[in-house]
Amino acid sequence: MRLSNFGVLEEAINNIDNTIKLNIYKKMYRSRKFEEGVIESVECKQIKSAVYLSIGQESIAAAIIEALGNKHYVFTQHRCHSTFLSLGGNILKIRDELLGLPTGSSNGKGGSNCLQIHENGINMFGHHGFIGENLPQAVGACFGSNKPTLCFLGDGAIEEDYIYPSIGFAVTHKLPIIIICEDNDLSILTKTEDRRSWDVSEVMKSFGIPSVNMADDPWSIYEKISGLFANTDGPIFLNIKTCRIKWHAGIGADKMHEWDRFSIVKEELLSLGLGSQLTVIEEEVNKEMDIVWDKKTLQQLLKK
């Protein structure tokens, strides 16, 4: 079911401390503004390689990273800008990576769908474009290190055959891995209803994995993930229904998205009387983005 309140815990927003709510909002706002900067830079041809924008999907990484911190190994899918930023990855390095500069997070070699960063306690492994490849790798890394691991993938990737034996291995070895399906209902442009009749969260239940199927309400994600973690010693699966606002790749849009979680969250926080705090956050982030996306600076960087 594709509804913005699907599976949402109505009381979650009230159970969460305001500081946490504002932290999540800041992560979302920062991702949104960063992506708007990417779009402008693509439009003026400063970014020339393909971009895979997180716009619309920001709440998932924001809530999960706010709940869990950055102590995990993190394996991202191709749409990973918001994960990179929510983890606290260096914003100038992601910008420069998209610009193809040697000062980028992977020296300008990887690009948008392949971000990777290992500094300041962050261990985020990039995706090389072979869809769903990161889940077996994440399971292997978790097995090899016994370190808590997060793996993000999309609803197209979750249909790949190599996903399920990897999950079976994680279950068998009771690995501390959280698998997050960022379910935007689209495999490029093919809707789920045209691809399969089965529900992935039901499949996960058959593995005996604690499983959640819900919309991308960050308060519910935060509460669910905190609760699930306390009660299990093996893999956890979250299917989170979300909306990709832009194309699979590039900055265009088909206006197929059913909701924009960022707008909903902002309305919710305003209705809680947190408007002045939001203004402070927005001014701070806007100032940062003015510096990050300053056109003259970019021109100079690209001239070098």
Partner: protein, 306 residues
């Protein structure tokens, strides 16, 4: 007491890695069916991957990412086609792209005569893709060198093995003859056949040199060997894989470039390797190598069915 065979060397290296170096050994049916031709020890650190190859290879690569330096056993090289995606697109590229290595030791085992999807020798594919070292050791000393190269580097190592060499106890020396009629450079198990062929031809007073090639990528030749090859009238490279676009062709090109001379090749015919005897399309044996050499010397280079 004789020298230990290659299988024993592999087993000893593996045991030390698993018991003393926090290593892992992963693969499908590796702790059964003869423990991979008696090359796998019964000790801790062995992980069965009973699943689709892409998942298994991904899990092995994941353990490499976190520094376990896994040995990943692929019991038949043909299965590299299935496992290859994780190895080629991730393990081999992650160091160059992100400066984060995924050092994985891939034991890819070739064999012969057991049909269309178990008899292939595919090291050439991994020579093609960036990021791999590709060695084809057939002696204990070479295997130790291969292992040392892996442990002292962060690149994935494609170790192309061949079942027909697991009982080999001998080191194989080059036979270097100045102004030879022909120099035979051979790869993998064809080295045993080429060595035999050259000895036979010496008995017939044909001056031949024989050069072992076990490091396929990066490929290099010692100056001493280049000089011998230069002085040779003809050169032939022999490999276990298909002749067309195969390792022999690639190495022949490298040698030819170095000495500015045409280099002949001999490998497996451009046909499926079937299971029944007349159609097995096996790697060149000494008889086939001798026939090829005689035809080259006679000036008949044209026919592959020699």
């Amino acid at each position: 007491m004789g020298q230990k065979n290659l299988a024993t060397t592999i087993k000893e290296i593996t045991r030390n890695h698993l018991e003393n170096c926090n290593g892992l050994l992963l693969g499908q049916s590796i702790s059964a069916v003869g423990w991979v031709n008696n090359t796998v020890p019964d000790c801790k650190g062995i992980v069965e991957l009973p699943m689709t190859d892409v998942a298994g290879a991904g899990i092995a690569v994941g353990t490499a990412i976190v520094g376990r330096r896994p040995i990943f056993v692929i019991r038949f090289q043909d299965f590299l086609i299935l496992n290859g995606s994780q190895l080629i697109f991730y393990a081999a590229k992650v160091k160059e792209l992100h400066n984060q290595p995924a050092p994985i030791f891939i034991r890819a085992i070739g064999t012969e005569g057991i049909g269309p999807c178990h008899s292939g020798n595919l090291h050439n594919i991994f020579m093609h893709f960036p990021g791999f070292n590709v060695f084809a050791p057939i002696t204990s000393k070479e295997y130790e060198q291969t292992w040392d190269a892996f442990m002292n580097d962060n690149k994935p190592m494609m170790c192309s093995e061949h079942r027909d060499t697991f009982t080999n106890c001998e080191e194989i020396e080059d036979i270097l003859v100045e102004d030879a009629e022909i120099t035979v450079c051979a790869i993998s198990v064809t080295r045993l056949e080429a060595q035999q062929a050259v000895k036979t031809l010496h008995g017939e007073n044909v001056k031949c040199s024989f050069v072992n090639i076990f490091k396929l990528k990066p490929f290099s030749l010692k100056e001493e060997i280049v000089d011998i090859i230069k002085s040779s009238k003809h050169i032939l490279v022999v490999d276990t894989g298909h002749e067309i676009s195969g390792a022999a062709q690639a190495i022949a090109y490298e040698i030819g470039k170095k000495i500015n001379k045409f280099v002949h090749i001999l490998g497996v015919e451009d046909k499926t390797k079937c299971i029944c005897e007349p159609y097995q399309n096996r790697y060149p044996d000494s008889e086939k190598i001798i026939t090829k050499i005689n035809n080259i010397i006679k000036g008949d280079y044209t026919c592959q069915k020699e």
